[in-house]
């Protein structure tokens, strides 16, 4: 979790009719709180608060003293609006819903549906060894329905990772936290550091140049998320892979057999060269929908057997 130097709102504070219970998470651009309305309905409220600017050392009001900081703050606000605007247009069971958007305390707030459940990260830590191939395919097929809708609205998520995927009580994956989504690329905006998560961000994400980033950048992160589901740890960070690709082959990290096809899908998504990845969520969906090919010859199986313990030894 990136550092957030600014003070969160205190518990019990009533914000536009929502009573703040506690901060749920904080990121580079915001703090997310659990809050309830008068009826006791829980919501997740996101407060725009770029962590790179000193904004609130006490109280609840955002205070900007520096003229240059004000410009950066307001520019970032535009990005926050873009996120709100795009999310408001999306009504999809696999994407978190926005319920309200308002201005207060000299900043802005986005009220989102509070999804009961656990993050995929939690499940990976607890239940990874129970993840079957069918479960993984199913989960990501569903998630891609949401991501398609996101991309169709000209938005890139740019921070897909197990911690940003919620699995609801009914087992429905929901894409959350669009905090990194579509950041305009100007010098000014670069003061608001682009957010990324090492291991999940695509190599081109580190350069953050327009034209290079696209749906394929989110696909890389989806690939890294699938990798993590199977291996338990994220792959080597994208920028390091670009220098020298020492990614540990997924199949050497697994405890249970998955089809060669699934490994191939993850490998493709994780291609350093973005042209080699499935280019869209729909392409990936098609690949996930394909019948898994039976595991290959005995020799291959044998090699894998002897390779597995060895590489495990090296990787740990």
């Amino acid at each position: 979790m990136p550092q957030q130097a600014n003070q969160p709102l205190p518990a019990g504070y009533v914000l536009n009719g929502y009573r703040i219970e506690k901060p749920l998470s904080s990121g580079g651009f915001s703090i997310v709180y659990l809050a309830r309305d008068e009826n006791g309905t829980p919501f997740a409220i996101k407060e725009y608060l770029p962590s790179s600017l000193p904004l609130r050392s006490e109280g609840v009001e955002v205070q900007i003293t520096d003229e240059a900081n004000l410009s950066v703050f307001r520019h970032g606000l535009k990005c926050f609006f873009e996120e709100g605007r795009a999310l408001a247009m999306i009504s999809h069971p696999n994407v978190v819903r926005v319920e309200n958007f308002f201005r207060a305390n000299e900043t802005c707030y986005m009220v989102m549906q509070y999804v009961r459940g656990r993050t995929l990260q939690f499940h990976i830590q607890r239940h990874r060894h129970e993840f079957t191939e069918k479960f993984i395919r199913r989960l990501f097929l569903d998630l891609m329905n949401g991501l398609r809708e996101v991309h169709a609205n000209k938005l890139l998520h740019l921070d897909i990772k197990p911690a940003n995927i919620f699995i609801s009580m009914e087992g429905r994956p929901v894409l959350l936290d669009f905090g990194a989504a579509r950041i305009t690329l100007s010098e000014e905006a670069m003061k608001l550091k682009p957010m990324y998560t090492a291991g999940f961000a695509a190599p081109e994400h580190y350069r953050f140049k327009p034209g290079e980033l696209g749906p394929w950048s989110d696909i890389y992160s989806v690939g890294a998320t699938m990798y993590t589901c199977i291996a338990g740890t994220p792959p080597l960070a994208g920028d390091q892979r670009e220098e020298k690709d020492r990614i540990i082959p997924l199949r050497s990290l697994t405890r249970q057999p998955y089809s060669d096809d699934l490994y191939a899908i993850v490998d493709e998504c994780l291609s350093v060269d973005w042209l080699k990845r499935p280019q869209t969520a729909f392409d990936l969906q098609k690949r996930l929908n394909e019948e898994p090919v039976e595991r290959k010859s005995v020799a291959g199986g044998f090699l894998e057997t002897i390779n597995k313990p060895l590489s495990k030894l090296f990787s740990r």
Binding site: S71, R74, T280, N289
Partner: protein
Amino acid sequence: MRFTIFQDSQIGDRKTNEDRVGYSYSRDVLLMAIADGMGGHEQGEVAAEIAVSEITRRFQQEARNKLRKPFDFLLSAIQSAHRAIVSHAVEHNLLECPRTTCVACIVQNGCVYWAHAGDSRLYVLRGGDLAAHTSDHSKVQQMIDAGILTIEAASRHPDRNKIFSCLGGVVPPQIDVGREFRLQPGDTVILSTDGFWAQIPPSILGTMVKKQTITALMPGLVGEAQRRAQGESDNVSVVAMTWENQEDANVADTNAMDDEEFASSSNSTQQLEGGPAVADDVTDDDIERAIAEIQSAIKKVPR
């Protein structure tokens, strides 16, 4: 044009999803298409994929503005999809040509135009009733038309999946076109594959569409269609559009789009708009305006 649109495709209990759905619209024209690749044939999925992407491609090529002859376009696009599937089979030396059903519709000038081959359906629902629909190119439909089978009995008939027109295959498809149908606000046009319509009768659909908006209703109905199949669900796919009050400022208007702009959902997604942002001064007015815009977008999209 002001409309609300929804699409989804679920695998059901099958091993592959051989259904493909897609929509695409520019300022003045909307295309919706759905295809159900045939399981008994090799690569039904490929056929469905080619059908939807070929029709969408043609649409984006020709529907810069309005289509002059929507029916001619539909016929020609569906035929070219058929040819594309056949050439795919030839190129890849497939023993058997992959096949797919297809239904596609165009909305422009406040009218809907459609064409289909096979047993994927289009319904136009008005006030809870089925105002117009396609007639399946299936054996059971012929028997129903001949009066020797009831609709009820058809749903259990062993040959209910046999169709006599489709894209791909040796015989060119029989393509039927609907009449030009003028839309009224609140009318809903639904395209679905048999995984959906076989489970959710139009009567139920009509009643529910009357009460709820499609974006609120359809996800649940798609799930219901799968549940009703009791573990034997076919792929379930739907694309639906509700024609809104054209004066209703709460619904997004495609008039706001540029001449060359297309919004699509299916295999094509949009690239992030790059380019350096201009140095900007965000004023208080800008902030208020942005918030008002987001508020209205939130109200517009049914939750």
